[in-house]
């Protein structure tokens, strides 16, 4: 049997893919911002806190990093409302899930970044009379961010790809749009052969931009 390619339906409904891509980028961007806030707070708590605090943070990281993201998506979307939790839409549910997931990755990234700051810089800050908060804001954090930029770039591109899982809870991002076209036209090869390059080109574009940022702020 010869398969006859026909991209008409895909091009007719390309807006679902285009706007879906925009939503995927938004989901990734918002999630990583929240994830960074979670990760940084917990990394600072881990490095400055006692055994109990370190235990809590380590437990969170191990749980999130060892449970598949898909399970977390289902747990937050179906599970939380089932036990009488608060109501929120599918997009919010996914952002929460992805942010919590990103947070676990960011804890490790920032913890490593904080550990990599040369001790001499911190001593110099103490020597010129900076307080703890001043050393954090003016010495440690700026240095840490420059050190962890490559890891942040990788995390962002990875989170962008992870947004495809939002399709299982009907968030209208890129994969969901592709699934809609697939179920309504049954043109499996056509729709996925258009969608996959969209992920590839976008991911590569993001990496290119982030690498330029890295070169600009690299620690030499």
């Amino acid at each position: 049997m010869t398969y006859h390619l026909n991209f008409d339906f895909v091009w007719r409904h390309f807006d679902k893919l285009g706007w879906g891509l925009v939503l995927s980028l938004e989901l990734a961007f918002i999630s990583i911002l929240i994830g960074m806030a979670i990760g940084l707070s917990l990394a600072l708590a881990y490095t400055g806190g006692g055994r109990f605090t370190r235990g809590i943070v380590a437990g969170y990281v191990e749980f999130i990093r060892n449970v598949p993201l898909l399970l977390l998506v289902y747990l937050v979307f179906y599970g939380v409302p089932s036990v009488g939790g608060f109501a929120y839409d599918a997009t919010t549910s996914f952002v929460i899930t992805l942010a919590v997931y990103a947070g676990a990755t960011m804890v490790e990234v920032f913890r490593a970044g904080l550990a990599a700051i040369p001790g001499g810089l911190i001593d110099a800050g103490k020597a010129i009379g900076l307080t703890g908060w001043q050393r954090l804001l003016c010495v440690r954090l700026p240095t840490m961010f420059r050190i962890v930029l490559p890891s942040l770039s990788n995390a962002y591109v990875s989170l962008f790809k992870d947004t495809s899982l939002a399709s299982v809870i009907a968030v209208p991002e890129l994969t969901y749009g592709a699934q809609w076209i697939n179920t309504n036209s049954f043109r499996v090869i056509e729709v996925w052969s258009v969608t996959a390059p969209m992920y590839l080109v976008t991911g590569y574009g993001l990496l290119f931009l982030l690498q330029r940022l890295e070169r600009r702020f690299a620690v030499h």
Partner: protein
């Protein structure tokens, strides 16, 4: 002399005729004792019918999470009306309804698994549509299904009237499928539609309060309400008739014709035992009386 010669010729011819008749009779008699396997298909060498007979088992793509069509019983065995249809085919091929291998698949994989040859046939509550018929060959229908609205006993909106009155505030979960939006709007024109990846998740959305109603098969609504009267309700509105057929690869008329013949015999004629039992067990229905005379098909 010529008269005698004529009589001898006539006798010879008659003798040959009688011998031919006897041989045909013996052949027919022997043929009627052959098993389906021994009779062997006269299908084209490239037909799937020949391949399946050689393989000695049928490979069927189906699901496992949608009662009463395809689901697992307490022992973990697949059962349901789709499973019954597969067993009808196996019985027709091998005189043994158990000679089936089931490949569990998502609804989204129904057409790809056919076109790539992963399965011989898909029997998975598949609605016949013109678009799908461009890609697969459909068998004759084996059921006329409808859509109904499942609601929760814990929900605020329990009936179709209440859902309609709620307008945009009514949230409907449905399997992501062709016509899904149109199908929901035919019953609830203003409702908010949530298309999810599986019918099981559409019901899960209702359970977790994510939706006010799940638009699913009428037979599934009846099944769930009967078995869980404390959890589920039928909103009292069924609509959207749709034909369910098995799907096969295109370009194999021998296989398609065989499946159609076997289904027709199972639904309308003499091999109806498995079909009738399925109708009763899974839908609580009795088939109409099969009267001799004018064929209904």
């Amino acid at each position: 002399m010529s008269g005698s010669q004529d009589r001898r010729d006539m006798l010879k011819l008659s003798g040959l005729g009688i011998a031919a008749g006897v041989m045909s009779g013996i052949g027919a008699g022997v043929g009627s004792f052959l098993t389906p396997e021994q009779a062997y298909a006269q299908a084209q060498p490239t037909s799937l019918l020949r391949t399946v007979l050689d393989r000695k088992k049928l490979i069927v793509g189906t699901g496992s999470t949608n009662a009463p069509w395809h689901f697992e019983d307490e022992k973990g065995q697949l059962t349901g009306m789709d499973i019954a249809m597969a067993r009808i085919l196996a019985a027709g091929l091998f005189d043994d309804p158990t000679k089936v291998e089931f490949v569990k698949q998502d609804p989204a994989a129904r057409i790809p698994n056919i076109t790539t040859g992963k399965v011989d046939i898909v029997i998975q509550f598949m609605t016949v549509t013109a678009q799908r018929a461009q890609l697969v060959a459909f068998s004759r229908p084996y059921y006329l299904e409808g859509v109904a609205l499942l609601t929760s006993t814990k929900g605020k909106l329990k009936t179709h009237k209440q859902l309609l009155a709620a307008g945009k505030a009514a949230r409907v979960s449905v399997l992501q499928n062709v016509y899904a939006d149109r199908m929901v709007r035919a019953a609830l024109p203003q409702a908010t539609v949530m298309q999810l990846d599986t019918e099981a998740n559409a019901i899960q959305a209702l359970d977790s309060g994510r939706s006010d109603t799940a638009a699913i098969d009428l037979s599934t609504v009846r099944w769930l309400v009967k078995r869980n009267p404390n959890a589920y309700l039928d909103a009292g509105y069924s609509y959207w008739p749709q034909l369910y057929s098995a799907a096969m690869r295109q370009g194999d008329p021998d296989w398609l014709n065989w499946v159609n013949t076997t289904f027709a015999v199972a639904i309308f004629a003499t091999e109806a035992e498995i079909y009738d039992k399925g109708l009763e067990d899974f839908f609580g229905q009795k088939p109409p009386v099969r009267k001799p005379g004018f064929p209904p098909i």
